[in-house]
Structure formats: C-alpha cells, structure tokens
C-alpha cells in the first residue's frame, strides 16, 4: 500500500530502501519528512495531537498519489502520516517518490505534500503555555495548492 496512517513512528531510511527495492529503472528518489517544531505562530509548543477522519484520510492520500501518477512520470510513491500525540522533533509525515529522472521525483514529492496539506482531513491541536489550540490553516498552504491548480480540479470548499 502506498499510503499509511499510523500512530507509530517510521524509519525513513528503511521505508525509502523498500520503495526503491532493487529496481534499476530508478535514477532519482525524492523524500520529504515533516517534523514537529517547538515553536509555531510565535508560541512555544510542548506537544501536539493530530486528529484525523479515519477512512477519508486514507482515501484522500490514495487519490493524491493517483493524481501525482497522472501528472508525473513516477515509478513508486509512498505516503505515511502519523496521528495521535507527538512532541517536538517527532516525525509527522513522510512522502517518498522514485522515478527515472530527478525532475519528476522532485515535482511529484512536492505536489503530494502541497495537496496533502490542503486536502488530507488531518488537524493539529497544539499544547502551548496559554493552553491548547487548534492550529489555523495557513494561507501559504492554499497558495501552494494554487500553484498546481491550472490543470487539476481539487474538491471545492463548501
């Protein structure tokens, strides 16, 4: 399965090795790891809880990977998104893409991350000294999705 939602941590090196396998068509592997920072919107963050919508998250991630396959020439792709309680420096998300050439690997990896940020039904609640708060959606995430929008049709906001 190219998509996993889990509370457990992941070993990015191991996952990427598995994705490459012994496939000698692969010339490029682009990987992104998102990690928990100890600061957000000028507040210290001591921990965060990731809530998601089981079933829809897996479907949304699978759809995004399929859309990437349609747009870029890629060989394999993997997305792992963690949920539950996380602390600063913990890994949150892994996106890894293999392809023959680097342009497709970079583009597809970034595309998947950008679209995931605006479409995967996952929410972060941060613990700060002022109490816990739901993280606000970033304007920059919408702008990043828009960069790809010219020739795609993501779900419309209600």
């Amino acid at each position: 399965m190219p998509v996993r939602v889990q509370t457990a941590d992941f070993d990015a090196g191991h996952e990427v090795s598995g994705l490459r396998g012994a496939d000698a068509r692969v010339g490029a592997v682009a990987t992104f790891i998102g990690t928990v920072r100890d600061m957000n919107d000028a507040s210290p963050v001591s921990a965060m809880t990731l809530e998601h919508y089981p079933g829809m998250t897996e479907k949304a991630l699978t759809d995004i990977v399929e859309e990437a396959r349609g747009r870029f020439s890629i060989i394999e792709a993997l997305v792992i998104h963690r949920v539950g309680e996380l602390r600063p420096t913990d890994q949150i998300v892994l996106v890894a893409v293999t392809s023959a050439h680097r342009g497709d690997a970079f583009d597809a990896c970034r595309f998947i991350m950008d679209i995931l940020k605006t479409r995967a039904p996952v929410w972060k609640k941060e613990a700060t000294p002022a109490g816990s708060r739901w993280v606000d959606a970033r304007i920059t995430d919408d702008a990043a999705e828009l960069r790809w929008k010219a020739d795609t049709t993501p779900g419309k906001p209600d």
């Binding site: 990731l50 809530e51 919508y53 829809m56 998300v93 605006t118 039904p121 929410w123 739901w134 209600d158």
Partner: protein, 96 residues
C-alpha cells in the same frame, strides 16, 4: 405491505460526523439524522443544523470555512444524500 402507489413519506437517515474543532464546539463526534425532505441534500442538512441556533448557527454560518464530505469525498451543497450516507463537517485541514 404498503402499496407503492400510496407510499409513506420517504425517510432518509444519514450519519453526521463532526471533526476536530467542530466536534469540540458541538460537544459530539457524530449523530444520526432522519430527513423528511423529498430531495435531501448537503445544503438542506446544513440549513437544518444552522436552525438549531447557538454554536451551530455560528460555526456553520455562510462564509465560514467548513468543508463537507459525503462518504469520504468532498461534496458541494447541492449533492444529494441517500439513506445510510455519512456526511462529515470538516474545519480547514492542518495536517502534513
């Protein structure tokens, strides 16, 4: 057995799911809702929920950034609802 020519009013029962901030605001994660409307849609349900007033009217006021998913797929207000559908209300997502 009811005759199809003298049908009882159609009842559509859907499951509502509230996520993240909306789950906390509404004080529940889900509920079942029986709809009498002849052509139930996402927009009809949103109007029914807003009519509850208070936090429901506030959180679901037109212009608030709430997305709706029906059976795990993002849906527009005119999307039809069928018996057994799961309709979820999603605040703006912040994963990744």
């Amino acid at each position: 057995m009811p005759d199809s020519r003298t049908a009882v009013p159609a009842v559509t029962t859907i499951r509502l799911v509230y996520l993240a901030r909306l789950r906390e605001a509404f004080g529940r994660s889900d509920e079942d809702l029986a709809l009498m409307a002849s052509t139930p849609s996402v927009g009809v349900v949103l109007a029914l929920l807003r009519a509850r007033g208070g936090v429901w009217a506030d959180e679901l006021a037109p212009g608030r950034a709430v997305r709706v998913a029906v059976n795990h797929t993002v849906a527009a207000p005119d999307a039809a609802l069928r018996n057994g559908d799961e309709m979820a209300l999603l605040p703006p997502v912040t994963g990744g």
